[in-house]
Each structure stands twice: as C-alpha cells, then as structure tokens.
C-alpha cells in the first residue's frame, strides 16, 4: 500500500544555483499528485529529492526534511534503502539494453540478491500485467531485448520494472512526454489503476494530463511552490494570479 509524503522546508542546489526554495507540502497516500510548471521551474529536482536521486549529482546539495510514511528519509535512511521503497519512472524510457524483457523486470529483485526462480516468474508476470504489457510480450519474454520494444512499450516495461520491487510510492518524471498519443493514453490509464495501490507523484508538462489523472496538483515557478490544491480547484479557480496566468497560457 502507498504511504503519504510530507515535505517541509526543502531547499536544493545545483552548485550555486538555488533550484528549490522552501518547499513544504503534503502528498496524500494512494492518490495521484501532479506537479506542473514551466521548464526549469524545479519540479523534476523536487521529485528527485523524494528518493534521494538528486544527490547522485556530485555538485548537488539539499536541506530540509522529507518524510515518507514514518521515515525521515534524509536522517533515518540510506539512499539505497529509500530507493527500494520508492519507484521511479524517467522521462526517456531506459530499459537495460543488454537484458531480455524478463531480466529487465526481474532486475530490481535480482540485483538485490533475490534468486528464487518461481517467485521471480510470478513477480515478472504480475508486474507486466499491472503495467498492461503482459499480453504484448508474453511470447518473447526471454528472447527479446528490452530495447527492441517500441517507445511506449519500453516505458510500460520501465513501469513494470519499478513495480516489481513492490514500492510504496511511484515517482514519474514526465513519463509520457517522449511518447505518441496512443501510448500516452495507455500510460494514463495505468496511472489511474495504480493509484489505488500506490502513492503516485507525476511531473508533467501536459495540463490536460494533470487534470485527467491527478486529485491534487502543485504549480512550481522559479524554484518555488506557488500553489498546491485539489486539481479541479487549480484548474478552475486558482488562488494565485501566477497560477491562473500559467494555466490559461499567458506565459510559460
């Protein structure tokens, strides 16, 4: 089951560039939360702070607290530990090119030392089912490379790979921005089904997408969280003038 995330006073830097400034918000469990805003506003950095991917960049720095469920992830957890609990799907599909479809999905468990074949078989099938990819690939699970699939299939493969380690939270950084409309629709359907079991945070440039999949939406601008509220409120009756300007297309 998903858990809630509570962020308080989060600040992040790339070198001297202060990319996130005093972000505080509560992301509810088992809901989808969308983050919107113009390019470079810090929304990607924000989700990368939620699973400590931000710090893989040697010049990056972060302060503040992030609680995932009961755990303060910066004080009480290691990056490796927290990333096992929080799955991530990236903007560009990134299956492991030398691995088969099966091995891609099983990789999270295998690389953490899991070997039981029967369990792996089950997990691979369940994860691919959840990612709505099973029927398309079940014939050549071990024959084809993950890189041989189409872009949309690759992205669903990456979602299956993230689901296989049974995370509590799924972070999605513009998961459909490199995909065609049909694949995008599939990914959105998927998010809709997954949010009953996982807490989902999705970064998107597509405001219709945010409106379709997310209960709550946050609007980022220049490293600050301008507004965070129920999605329908953000899109129909925003409190802040800047949010209104952005969603009506007056800038950004």
């Amino acid at each position: 089951m998903g858990v809630a995330i509570e962020v308080s006073d989060l600040n992040a830097w790339y070198g001297t560039n202060h990319t996130l400034q005093n972000i505080s918000l509560k992301i509810p469990a088992n809901h989808a939360t969308a983050l919107i805003g113009p390019s470079g506003c810090g929304k990607s950095t924000f989700v990368r702070c939620l699973n400590r991917m931000h710090e893989t960049n040697p010049i990056a720095r972060v302060t503040g607290t992030v609680r995932v469920g009961p755990t303060d992830i910066y004080a009480q957890s290691s990056p490796v530990e927290i990333r096992r609990r929080i799955g991530m799907v990236f903007q560009r599909p990134n299956p492991f090119p030398t691995m088969s479809i099966y091995d891609n999905v099983a990789s999270g468990l295998r690389l953490n030392g899991y070997r039981n074949r029967k369990v792996l078989d089950e997990v691979v099938e369940r994860s691919l089912q959840q990612a709505a990819l099973w029927d398309e690939v079940k014939e050549d699970l071990k024959k084809k490379s993950g890189a041989s699939l189409s872009g949309g299939q690759q992205q669903r493969l990456c979602i299956a790979r993230a689901l296989a380690v049974d995370p509590e939270v799924m972070l999605m950084d513009e998961p459909a921005s490199a995909l065609d409309p049909v694949s995008t629709a599939k990914i959105e359907d998927l998010i809709f089904q997954l949010k009953s079991q996982y807490t989902i945070v999705i970064v998107t440039h597509n405001m219709q997408q945010a409106a379709r999949v997310a209960e709550n939406t946050g609007f980022f601008l220049n490293g600050k969280l301008v507004e965070f509220d129920a999605t329908h409120k953000i899109f129909t009756n925003p409190t802040d003038k800047r949010t209104e300007d952005y969603i009506t297309g007056r800038f950004g």
Binding site: P58, N94, F96, G108, L149
Partner: protein
C-alpha cells in the same frame, strides 16, 4: 508579429544538379577507395604468407619439435604450445587488472587525482617500446634467476594492461546516464550497478579492447628475447625457458638455411591464422548471448 525577410526561393538550376551528382559520385569513389587502401595491406600480407608458407605446412609442423641443424624436417609444435602458455599467463594477468583499472578511472575515481595519474600512467605505458619492457622485466624477474616462461607471460601481460584499461574506461563512459539512473532508482547499490549494469552494457566494447590487446602481444618478439628466451625442446614448465612462435620465426628467419626460412614463413602464417581464429572465437562466444534487438 515580427516580420522576417525570407530569401527569394532559389531556382534549382540544371548545372547545380549536375554538380551535386558529380560530388556525390566523387565522395562514393573516395570512400570505396579508402576502404580498399585500408584492406590492401592485410590482404597482401596474408596472400604473401600463404604463397610462401603454405607449401611448408604439413602434419610434422604441428606435431614435431625443431630438428637440429643439418637434419631436415621438424616442426614448431613446442612453439605453438609455448605461445599458448605465454598468452594464457598474459591474459590472466592483463585482462582482470586492465578492466579493473578502467572501472576505477571511469566509475569510482572521477575527477580524483589518483584516477588522472592512473590514466596518464596507462598512456605512457602504452608508448613504452616493447624491447624496453623486455629489459625491465629482465632486470626485475630474470637477472640472476634465469629465463622463465612466467617472466615472458608477465612482460606480455603488462603490455596488455594499458590498452584494456583505456578501452574499458571509454566504453564505460559511453553508457548513457539514464541507464545508470535506472539501476540506482531501483535501489541497487552503486558498486552492484557498476558491475551488473554499466559494465555489462559496455561489455561488447570491453571485449573488443581485450582482443586488440591480445592480438597485439601475440606477435610480440622483443619482450620475449629477454624473458621467455625460447626453447628448442618440449617444455611447458613456467620456471623454464619456453618456446614461442614469434621467437622461433625470428631465429629461423635470421638463419642461413633455406629450409629454416621456409619454416619461418610457415610459422608466420600459423601465427596470424591462430590470432584471427582466437579473436573470431571469442567474438562468437561473446556474441551468442546477445538478444534480438539488443543495442
């Protein structure tokens, strides 16, 4: 609305089109010509070796050891086995050390001084003439103790390291960041991700690097003169002098006897065929596991 002045549409003139066709053909001819120039030396050498050496190849060449001066016949069986032993020692030493060095420079030592030193050392080592390598190993391992197969293998192994280290480094750096991030995002520890994901993704290039290094040292003669020394008799002992194909070719080619000259040509042919076969074999074995559509 900003008004931009568009250039008037250029008319495609016949002469223009003619020029393009001519340039296209010139470029094609130049590319094909370069290909031929690249391949010509290899084909010429191989053809000449076949012409000179093939007639001296017989069963005895592969089963007998050299005959004493004055007796005809004999073969290079001991040299073929000896080269195998030397290259096995060299690979056992050079491949793991070379790959580990490359992994360190590319993955763990980024922007660290030690990594820059390792890279610089590898480049210098790559430029050390092979005869100097032979003398260095002679001083370290041979002088006062006698010529040994082991010292020859070590000399060749050290020569393999820089090539393997640098290609491993370059191949690892070519693995895209998003593949590494995918592994880290799954909660895989960094060392595990480097070995199981990054190195595995880079493995075709790393294998090519190892093969290049192997092929290069397989034909080396100079470092063996002071270390493995050569042997006219059967020996596979690591603590005794051992025969090697390049050494035997060297000795026979410089001799005054016509028969030995013919054997030297045959030996050169066998050496080049063995190198080509072993490289092809490794490629085949390594390529068998590659999946459909893997990039």
């Amino acid at each position: 609305m900003a008004t931009t002045t568009m250039p008037p549409p250029r008319r495609a003139r016949a002469s223009n089109r003619f020029l393009r066709v001519v340039i296209d053909h010139l470029a094609t001819v130049a590319a094909v010509g370069s290909t031929i120039v690249v391949m010509a030396p290899l084909i010429a050498i191989f053809g000449y070796l076949l012409f000179k050496g093939a007639s001296s190849l017989n069963v005895a060449f592969f089963t007998q050891i050299p005959k004493p001066v004055g007796e005809s016949g004999g073969g290079m069986a001991n040299s073929i086995v000896g080269s195998g032993v030397l290259l096995a020692i060299a690979s056992l030493m050079g491949v793991p050390i070379g790959i580990a060095g490359g992994i360190y420079i590319a993955e763990f030592g980024r922007n660290k001084r030690l990594a820059n030193m390792v890279r610089f050392t590898a480049d210098v080592l790559n430029g050390v003439p092979s005869i100097v390598m032979g003398i260095a190993i002679y001083t370290l391992l041979v002088a006062g103790k006698g010529y040994t197969a082991l010292s020859g293998g070590v000399a060749l192994g050290i020569m393999m390291i820089p090539t393997i280290t640098r290609t491993t480094e370059e191949m690892l750096l070519m693995v895209p960041l998003n593949v590494r991030e995918a592994a880290l995002g799954l909660g895989v520890p960094n060392w595990r991700s480097v070995l199981s994901i990054t190195l595995r993704t880079a493995s075709p290039g790393v294998i090519t690097g190892c093969m290049l290094a192997f092929a290069r040292v397989a034909g080396e003669t100079a470092p063996l003169l002071f270390t493995a020394f050569g042997n006219q008799y059967w020996s596979t002992s690591l603590t005794q002098p051992i025969a090697a194909l390049p050494l035997q070719i060297f000795v026979y080619a410089l001799s005054p006897y016509d028969e030995w000259h013919r054997l030297a040509w045959a030996g050169a042919l066998v050496l080049i065929v063995l190198i080509v076969v072993s490289v092809a074999l490794v490629r085949y074995v390594a390529g068998r596991g590659v999946l459909k559509g893997a990039s």
